[in-house]
């Protein structure tokens, strides 16, 4: 009652002294805190104000003019629920009700109008929450608050909350730099863009749902891009336009990685939840990249380490992961992330189904009866770890230290009986790739971008096969396969803008690589050790010095990049790699591109011929070696470099929600190695040939994509026609198809989102891979085959499969995001022969013969995932 009386008094007082008072505001056209405005009135007119300091510091009003009257001030304050009262003595009181208003905002991408999940929201330095998968956040906040929306790769936006907003939509723009280069924001779906230089950029965390995938596995996601696939249906094994997986350059924060997968190509060895972006080149490769003749996959880890503590984690039926992003100071942040298999805790049906694909036709496949008992359940383990320390003294400079460790181990014991002799068999495999990099980067719009990067990568693989007889004095065998790569190097580059349209990139790299291979057996007969070298035992070092130069002309309708990469190395001398890329915009809907490039590669991942007596075999999955390429025998040695020349021509058309892309390519590869092909290596070993003269390979292909989006429904169709042949003159007079030559591949994918659900369905059809049909596998039969030009003259049947996945996103309370997902690969459980491998058998007369095993596709495989992040 008393208060009412008091307020009445105030009003009367004001009526009496209704004289306008005005202040000058130094910063107009922006938001100023109520306390600052009050200070202006105090200073300029000696007025007395009473208020709650914290509230008035956090309440802002828009200022559009250089002056403000007390009346206008009063009116503006009403829009943020603050009342300005004056008592009869001329003292002012500012009162804001204690109530927080519910407020909701939906954030979208300006370019594509698609929702942006995981946008972080701040009130000053205070972290308020993140947007959910539909780009929406619900917050309880006081009117007058200034909200800041931050999202990696986008410009931050500041927004003022007044009483009139209840649910608004806000558009976020890409960083100018990124925007300039993008020509298609949703290449297949959200999270995959096509850049002006024809490369693709994948952002695993923003990636919309894809068929058969509940986790945004980096390489598996890329297999939906036309021209990228895995003919053996292995998620982490990428064949890019007729290139084999070892011909792709894999970079993680600048570290060259030699171990691309966990679980023998079933899971990509890079943690998608801390991957900021992945740049992928199918052609038109920049001069920055070399040493591999096929695609480039350049991955960068997250750099949002400064604002606030963030963490997340998840679990699926194979493993789990967790990450932490810890700001230490405003300019120093740490990222720690780990992912490991949980196969030591439980072996799910997903694990069983995948391992029966990986280990099929071997003694580790529990479903096969090959007279060997598995003593323990399959003992397989994988993990990957990342650590990153980033110091960013200002917007334009950053210093980054990044470390990665990838680890795979298999440790298995089996028991069997042969000729009434009990024995034990052990398979022990350990693969490690660890690496580190240091990067200094200076990047500012309109100025020269300077970059210095140091990296170290260390890959090692060791496989031991143990055959131990339980009878006293009988012979034992230990077979060992060792492979080690150590690489160290730096990259220094300057990207210099010249005028409005020109850029010059100049750089220098130095790399030292050391590769060791060892393939040998140790027999222990009656206590005496016999050391037997089976295959390669080499150690080879290479040092190369590289200089590169590239000029880019970037005008409205034409993008032209011409460059050269020159390399000198101690093995083969001087190598030149000219690169040209052009993109011409004919109209708003049509764009033509072309590229011409040369690339060289000295290291390949080869297979060793497997001699398999009836009583044991080695694990085919452990039979891959990074090796330098050479021909000839001891004393007459020549190092070889695979040389690829590639021409690409393409067109991109988009109109009314339709997108069509057609790209054709032709590639000629000189000096290919036959040692990647188990058929040829086996035949060579049977015939006691040492190695073949290098071959000539050709790749022809057409990649087609058609996409249509209708609101929340998206569908795309991709089709690839490809022809991959190789010719080894002293093996067969005519060229023959490569073992991975898949002529047709067709994919139809559909995704739909509804409320908090996302659904995806994809159907893939692929033509069968070639194989060489043998009956006895004798030398005579193979000689006839080659004389009749019948190597790889047969085809496995075509195959197809249907994949589906669905994700439910939990309602966002502004603090944390969560989701559950479910996927099924090969929904109608079609079992089909998919790939043939060759090895050497020994008959009763101790003669060698060629034998083949054909692997089936993955059976129906379900997986589930649960994740949260905050």
């Amino acid at each position: 009652m008393q208060r009412l009386y008091y307020i009445l008094l105030c009003i009367v007082g004001i009526t009496i002294s209704a004289k306008a008072q005005q202040v000058k505001i130094p910063t107009s056209g922006t938001f100023v805190s109520v306390e600052d405005v009050v200070t202006f009135f105090k200073d300029q007119h000696n007025l007395q104000f009473s208020y709650d300091v914290a509230q008035m510091q956090q309440a802002f009003i828009p200022i559009n003019d250089t002056t403000l009257s007390i009346e206008d001030f009063t009116e503006v304050l009403k829009t943020i629920a603050i009342t300005l009262k004056k008592d009869k003595k001329g003292n002012y009181f500012l009162i804001q009700s204690n109530e927080e208003n519910s407020y909701c905002v939906t954030i979208k991408d300006t370019h594509s109008n698609l929702a942006l999940p995981n946008v972080t929201i701040y009130n000053g330095d205070e972290y308020l929450g993140i947007t959910d998968f539909s780009g929406t956040a619900n917050l309880e906040i006081r009117p007058g608050t200034l909200l800041t929306y931050r999202y990696t790769g986008y410009k931050s936006v500041i927004q003022h909350v007044s009483l009139s907003n209840d649910c608004i939509t806000l558009m976020l723009k890409d960083d100018v730099q990124a925007l300039e280069e993008i020509i298609l924001t949703n290449y297949l779906t959200r999270g995959l863009v096509k850049n002006k230089n024809s490369s693709l950029t994948l952002s695993p965390k923003t990636l919309a749902i894809l068929p058969g995938l509940v986790e945004p596995d980096v390489f598996q996601s890329l297999q939906l891009v036309p021209g990228i696939n895995s003919p053996g249906e292995n998620p982490a094994s990428l064949h890019i336009r007729g290139g084999t997986p070892d011909q792709n350059l894999l970079l993680w924060d600048g570290i060259k990685i030699y171990q691309n997968s966990h679980f023998f190509d079933q899971i990509t060895s890079f943690n998608p939840y801390i991957t900021k972006k992945v740049d992928v080149y199918r052609g038109g490769t920049s001069v920055r990249y070399g040493d591999r003749i096929s695609g480039v996959i350049n991955m960068q880890s997250d750099d949002d380490l400064f604002d606030t503590f963030k963490a997340g984690g998840g679990m699926n039926l194979l493993g789990g992961d967790v990450y932490f992003k810890i700001p230490i100071f405003k300019k120093l942040g740490i990222l720690i992330a780990g992912r490991r298999s949980l196969t030591d805790l439980y072996q799910s049906f997903t694990f069983n189904s995948i391992s029966s694909k990986v280990f099929q036709n071997s003694r580790l496949d529990a479903s096969e009866d090959i007279g060997i008992e598995n003593e323990t359940p399959l003992n397989y383990f994988f993990s990957d770890w990342n650590a990153k320390l980033m110091y960013k003294p200002n917007e334009n400079h950053s210093y980054t230290l990044s470390i990665i460790k990838i680890k795979n181990t298999l440790n298995n014991n089996n028991k069997g009986v042969r000729d009434n002799e009990p024995f034990q068999i052990g398979d022990r495999l350990e693969q490690n790739n660890w690496g580190g990099s240091f990067t200094w980067l200076r990047e500012k719009e309109g100025l020269t971008t300077k970059k210095f990067q140091l990296f170290l990568s260390d890959y090692s693989s060791q496989y031991n096969f143990e055959f131990i007889s339980e009878n006293e004095g009988a012979s034992n065998l230990i077979a060992t396969r060792i492979n080690q790569v150590t690489e160290f190097g730096y990259d220094l580059s300057y990207d210099i803008p010249i005028g409005k349209y020109h850029h010059v990139l100049i750089g220098n790299q130095l790399q030292t690589t050391n590769v060791s291979d060892g393939v040998f057996d140790i027999f222990n007969v009656n206590g005496q050790e016999i050391f037997n070298i089976i295959g390669l035992v080499t150690t080879q070092g290479r040092t190369n010095l590289i200089g590169y130069l590239e000029h880019r002309y970037d005008a409205d309708n034409l993008f032209l990049s011409t460059g050269i990469r020159a390399e000198y190395n101690n093995l083969v001398g001087l190598l030149f790699e000219p690169r040209v890329f052009a993109s011409l915009k004919l109209s708003n809907s049509l764009r033509l591109t072309t590229s011409l490039e040369r690339k060289n590669q000295s290291f390949s991942q080869i297979n060793n011929a497997q001699i398999e007596p009836d009583f044991y075999n080695l694990l085919p999955a452990a039979n891959q070696f990074w090796s330098i390429q050479f021909q000839g025998t001891e004393g007459n040695f020549e190092f070889l470099t695979q040389k690829s020349n590639q021409l690409t021509v393409g067109a991109l058309y988009k109109k009314n929600g339709w997108t069509a892309e057609l790209e054709g390519y032709y590639k000629k590869i000189d000096n290919t190695t036959s040692q990647i092909d188990t058929f040829i290596t086996s035949v060579n070993t049977i015939e006691q040939q040492t190695s073949l003269t290098p071959g000539l390979a050709k790749r022809y292909g057409l990649d087609f994509l058609l996409k249509k989006r209708i609101k929340n429904y998206k569908a795309w169709l991709s089709y690839t026609w490809a022809k991959n042949t190789v010719q080894y003159r002293d093996f067969q007079s005519l060229a023959f198809p490569e073992p991975f030559d898949q002529r047709h591949r067709f994919n139809l994918s559909q995704t739909y989102s509804y409320n908090h659900f996302e659904f995806a369905l994809g159907w893939t059809y692929g033509s069968g891979l070639p194989f060489t049909k043998t009956t006895t596998g004798s030398i005579q039969e193979i000689t006839d085959l080659r004389a009749n030009n019948n190597v790889y003259g047969n085809r496995l049947p075509d195959y197809h499969r249907l994949d589906l996945s669905t994700i439910y996103h939990f309602k966002n309370n502004g603090r944390w995001n969560g989701k559950v997902g479910f996927s099924i690969r090969n929904l109608y459980d079609r079992r089909q022969d998919i790939q043939t491998n060759y090895s050497i058998g020994i008959d009763d007369q101790n003669d060698f013969f060629l034998q083949s095993t054909t692997n089936e596709s993955l059976k129906l495989t379900a997986d589930m995932v649960f994740r949260i992040s905050f």
Partner: protein, 96 residues
Amino acid sequence: MAAFAKAKTPLTIVQNKNSIPTWRDGKSVFTNTSLIEVFAAIERQFDVTIEISRINANRKFTGFFSYEQLENALEQVCYPMNIKYTIEGRTVQLSN
């Protein structure tokens, strides 16, 4: 609320000197001061006990209280800070 009628072209300021005859010595002024100190000053001025345990007394206040009357002084501080008060003899209870 006619008194707050919006003036598009603000007039020049004229301080209403008549309404502040005794302000110079009749009040205490605070800038960014914690409520603990503000209520302690009121306690001293009016010789009362103010119970602040039920409010967050670390909040900062800018403003004044006048010396004329306890009730006015409390109102002048509690009103902008959204605090309720009850006076029981020589004791003041504060609550949110």
